[in-house]
Amino acid sequence: MSERLEVGIDELFVVNVARTIMDRTTVFHGVSSPIPMVAMYLAKLTHAKDMVYFGGVSSAVDPNPPFLPPTTNDWVMIQGRTAMVTVDKIFDLAQRGELDRSFFSGAQIDKHGNQNVSMIGTPEKCKIKFPGGAGGCNLSGDCVNYTIWTTRHRAQKKGDRKFFTLVNKCDFVTNVGHVTPYGRREELDLVGNGPDWVVTELGVFDFDEKTKSMRLRYLYPDTTVNEVIDNTEFEPIVHPEVRVMDMPTREQIDIIRKIDPLGVRKLEYPEQELSRRFMI
């Protein structure tokens, strides 16, 4: 029997995101997406070998980069490719209903999967300006499905106040979830079906069929249902069979370490999260 291996939250998280990618599908990640970047490359090299892999804004088809860089628009990401397309062709694919998956995050995420990547305040009186959704507003409507990720689920305490990422209501909806401020997805004639998975550093959620609200499915070995509830402003639905997620295989971990020697998968975490280690 081989020895046990210590893995980090960053590696477990990447595997969780990779698990949302199916073989023989078309998949794209956008800007500011180091975790989906690693997860997509991992999926392509393991369980999704026939995935059509669009590696970021640089829009190479099936790239084979020598390592993963901390930016999504660099010549590193077009190395070893099959072909180049221009980024507008990926948006065309999505608008035709043929882009199977993408990945979005937000400074605020509500229970229906709407996300705010734009601002706190109003356009006239903006308190905090976030970077903006890039293609998210379009692709969250058009992609067949998408994965939401955040490494900042854990609420921040400042004095007696708690600041949540998973909020009751987004100050501004950039990317659309299942029930938007303007109506439900089907009432809006959107092309895609919306988010189907939410991966956070505290757990993994899917969406309840009836209410189209986030439902806790999996925990990490070191998190609990109560911890997830305490760190979520809305009351999440808890699946009756909620359990600890399956651990990654040694092969998956070896590949992650090989394709991501710079550790871009670690760039998104608050410092204290990265000390979380697990044995497999």
Partner: protein, 310 residues
């Protein structure tokens, strides 16, 4: 848009910048930290240009720098950040949060479709997304409506024709033919949709050589050409150079300190106090820096090192 048939379009940086007017809508080429026309932005700052309306997709250094340099009045980009590499864009945030620039944030495919409408010579185009998003609040010009053919909800967006596109290309000839290497991001769309196209290029090559290599953009689509080696620095312009993390790191430190510090420590040093491209090159590290940024070609280890540099 526009047909330009002058035989010799070569101009100085100074002249090129003077073709861009206050309040112009400007499409800035490249994206994030790649192939952005930074030398031209520096010249616009020296000339004291004001209230430019920037449009584009996912950008980074260029837009943040232009906001910090005080030449911007509105931003219609879809995303402005240094990704998880250096994080949020300090000058852009400050400009939005103080009301110095108008927030006209847009979304990538919406902008692409608007540029296409302009390229196609049609007044508007339907988009199937945007519905459900508050992005519509930022754009009263978008018209949600019912598709008369299928009865489904769609959004009409107007054609977008920037006054000028500013593009940094790898190669150009004096006739205006361009060789741009992929990824193009939105550059080709910007060129076809804008009223004027001003190009800075790493190299000006003879027309005969350009024809042999095969231009990406034919001459009649460009208005003016400037020779600008190192013209995208500190963003990347492969195969000549990768992006300069060391320089961007210095930039970020002063930008995060505040508007005053940014002016004193960055703009005075690298923009206002610089008289020639040679002087800029020396200030940012000269030949040693240039060689270092070209070392990505030597293989995986040296390329990785350029990304680890603080």
């Amino acid at each position: 848009m526009g047909v330009f048939i002058d035989r010799n379009k070569l101009v100085t940086m100074d002249k090129a910048a003077s073709m861009i007017k206050d309040e112009d809508m400007v499409a800035v080429g490249g994206g994030l930290c790649m192939r952005e026309p930074i030398a031209l932005l520096r010249e616009l700052m020296r000339q004291g240009r004001n209230d430019l309306h920037l449009v584009g997709t996912a950008h980074g250094f260029d837009v943040d720098f232009a906001c910090g340099g005080g030449i911007v009045g509105a931003v219609q980009e879809t995303h402005v950040s240094f990704e998880q590499d250096f994080g949020l864009a300090p000058n852009y945030r400050r400009a939005c949060e103080t009301g110095r620039v108008k927030i006209r944030e847009n979304c990538c495919n919406t902008i692409i479709m608007q540029l296409r409408a302009s390229e196609f010579g049609i007044p508007f185009i339907p988009v199937r997304s945007i519905k459900g998003s508050d992005e519509i609040k930022l754009h009263p010009e978008f018209k949600p409506m019912v598709d008369p053919f299928t009865g489904k909800k769609i959004v009409l967006v107007p054609a977008l024709s920037p006054d000028v596109a500013i593009i940094h290309a790898q190669k150009a000839d004096i006739h205006g033919n361009l060789k741009i290497m992929p990824p193009y991001v939105a550059d080709v769309l910007f060129i076809r949709a804008s009223n004027k196209v001003i190009v800075t290029a790493e190299e000006i090559i003879p027309e005969k050589q350009m024809i042999e290599e095969g231009p990406t953009i034919p001459y009649y689509e460009t208005t003016a050409v400037v020779e600008a080696p190192f013209g995208a620095h500190p963003t990347s312009c492969y195969p000549y150079y990768a992006y300069d993390r060391e320089h961007i790191s210095e930039y970020m430190k002063s930008a995060r300190e505040g508007a005053e510090a940014f002016r004193e420590k960055y703009l005075d040093k690298y923009v206002y106090g610089v008289k020639s491209p040679e002087e800029y090159m020396d200030k940012v590290g000269g030949k040693a820096k240039r060689d270092r940024l070209a070392s990505w070609k030597e293989g995986r280890e040296s390329w990785m090192e350029l990304f680890s540099y603080e």
